[in-house]
Subunit: 331 residues, 2 copies
DNA sequence: TTACAGTATGGAATCGATTCCACGAAAGGC
DNA sequence: GCCTTTCGTGGAATCGATTCCATACTGTAA
């Protein structure tokens, strides 16, 4: 591989001048500029990133840690983040934590060792020692989607309260009174926020305040199924079910179908926080609050870059949209 | 940030010895080992990756270039690749090419500059100059899922012929004779392989060889819809439709519904190359050949690591499985 | 003509690690 | 008890870039 020394030799100039040309310094003559560029091209020279990073004390690399890139929300977010980062000359290191604190810590170590310029973090559960160490070292960090207690970093996430309000408005429009709400874990800020917003808003939207209709799972299909089962076992017979995330709605739907039969199930309307492409294809189709993962990813990178540049970006809640898939009037 | 010099000073040893301890060289005494490790811990020392990379001429970073991480196939593949890489001490740089050659070239430049130790490439279309340059520089590269003409790199991908055979067997079992096949672009090796396998196998499975039943799109829903439309416009009335990838099947299904009505559509059986989670929820449910993206990602990384170690890994086609979602007997 | 400002350049120090080399001390062989 | 390995260590060179500093040169003003 050709180094800057080779380029300098071929151009008949010093490495100093060569470096200045290659990094676009104005302190260069047109003559040396053309000679250096020609030599670089002929040799197929590519800057040695690690060497440059060593000297400049920055890597132009951002770390992105998500819990699982396979989730549509995160893959959309990762796509947007990568595009936005690239548009600003940054490259993205990707890692999955798989909801496992040990793995998250290992990743944070690797990111720290790579000397990423900043971190996009979609945290799982609580604060970890590594994270604390990085914060102390003043590594620029932004949080995506979920907050972490005790971590004072800008947060870019869904407007959970606004999303729940959209769902409540829809439930009211559809004339539902007996609505089952299947929430997520209180330990996730998303779970808590959606739950709180629902409790705070239901009465104003003409929805029963009977707490028998409310239960919570773990944001996964099976946990949600158990929660839904508990609701039905309490004798509640809702006309609509509101799942606090995509998997939750699915799990709830499965149980309703199994316990009440497909016919009864198709008389019940479902609404989900989190839209999944194929909710249009279920029967009945599921209406949903759609997260704007693209905008969250983009905003997260922008905020992080601002932080890297020494600015003080502010957290932002990105608005949701509502996808109404209900057919016809309710009887 | 603490450097190895700080650690050495604190431990009262030279940087040489300190480095040996930290990188686990056997040439160290138990005494200096414990002193160095204690000092490192106290200072919160983290190896400076770029500096290490500069000296060692390797980065322990792999580049992963996919066309779009939002596709379920790629996000599953990326997840598996990242996990496998991490298990071997590597970190993964992720980039999306968005089916855009210019963007792919920009990414390859960035990867080259970062001096990734190897490249996992899910190519779009043909060879690009950058790729050629990297191959000439003998950068270890493996291809994922699609081949590129003229590029002699190990390929880890789906067993397209085997998958088509599974679909053909199913079509035969279900007693279909008039089967519409909506293919993908011939310029993609996946499109060409699936198409060829279908043509080669249909007769032996009792399927009509009428070419009016066959058309091709661009592997996207809209292009597939147009292809399906052409088939119907030719007067063909298939009892089953075989889509050469997930989006293709969806586009075809949409057109069948729109043109023949939902009732007629539900009498037609669909089978897709590429399984998508929610094919279970469509009506009628879609049977599918499932790609083992996880295994492809894992095998790709293993092959790449072998290549990096100077070995000569061999290409591998990963077997598909078949998800039969057909209900009951056909009349 | 002399002095001075402004540019372009070469040379050298530097970033933070790894690794080669040489040296002293301890251990083993006769 | 002397000679030869072996082992641990310190010091220095090195990786490939960037950037500071000093210098040479150009052109302008007094």
């Amino acid at each position: 591989m050709a180094t800057i020394k080779d380029v300098a030799a071929r151009a008949g100039l010093s490495v100093g001048t060569t470096s200045r040309v290659l990094s676009g310094s104005p302190q260069t003559s047109p003559d040396s500029r053309s000679r250096v560029l020609a030599a670089a091209k002929e040799l197929g020279y590519v800057t040695h990133g690690p060497a440059r990073s060593l000297r400049r004390a920055r890597t132009d690399v951002l770390g992105l840690l998500v819990s699982d890139i396979r989730s549509p929300f995160f893959s959309e977010l990762a796509h947007a983040a990568e595009q936005e980062a690239r548009a600003h000359g940054y490259t993205v290191l990707l890692a999955n934590a798989n909801e496992d604190a040990a793995q998250a810590d290992a990743v944070l170590d690797a990111f720290a060792s790579q000397r990423v310029d900043g971190l996009l973090l979609s945290p799982q559960g609580p604060q970890t020692p590594r994270l604390e160490a990085l914060l102390e070292k003043r590594l620029p960090i932004v949080l995506l989607n979920r907050a972490i207690e005790g971590v004072d970093a800008p947060l870019y996430g869904t407007d959970n309260a606004g999303g729940v309000a959209q769902a409540l408005a829809w439930l009211q429009r559809r004339g539902h009174r007996d609505v089952a709400f299947i929430g997520g874990p209180e330990s996730f800020s998303t779970g808590a926020e959606r739950h709180d917003a629902y409790l705070a808003g239901r009465e104003a939207h003409g929805i029963s305040t009977d707490d028998d209709l409310i239960d919570a799972g773990d944001f996964l299909a099976d946990g949600a199924a158990e929660a839904m089962l508990r609701v039905l076992d309490r004798g509640a017979r809702p006309t609509a079910v509101f799942g606090a995330n995509g998997q939750t709605t699915l799990g709830a739907m499965r149980v309703v179908r199994e316990r009440l039969g497909a016919e009864a199930a198709s008389g019940i309307e479902f609404v989900s926080f989190d839209d999944i492409e194929w909710f249009a294809y279920t029967s009945p189709p599921i209406s949903a609050v759609r997260n704007d993962a693209t905008e969250i990813g983009r905003a997260g990178v922008q905020g992080l870059l601002e932080l890297i540049d020494g600015g003080t970006p502010t957290s932002r809640r990105v608005a949701t949209s509502f996808i109404d898939r209900a057919k016809g009037d309710r009887a």
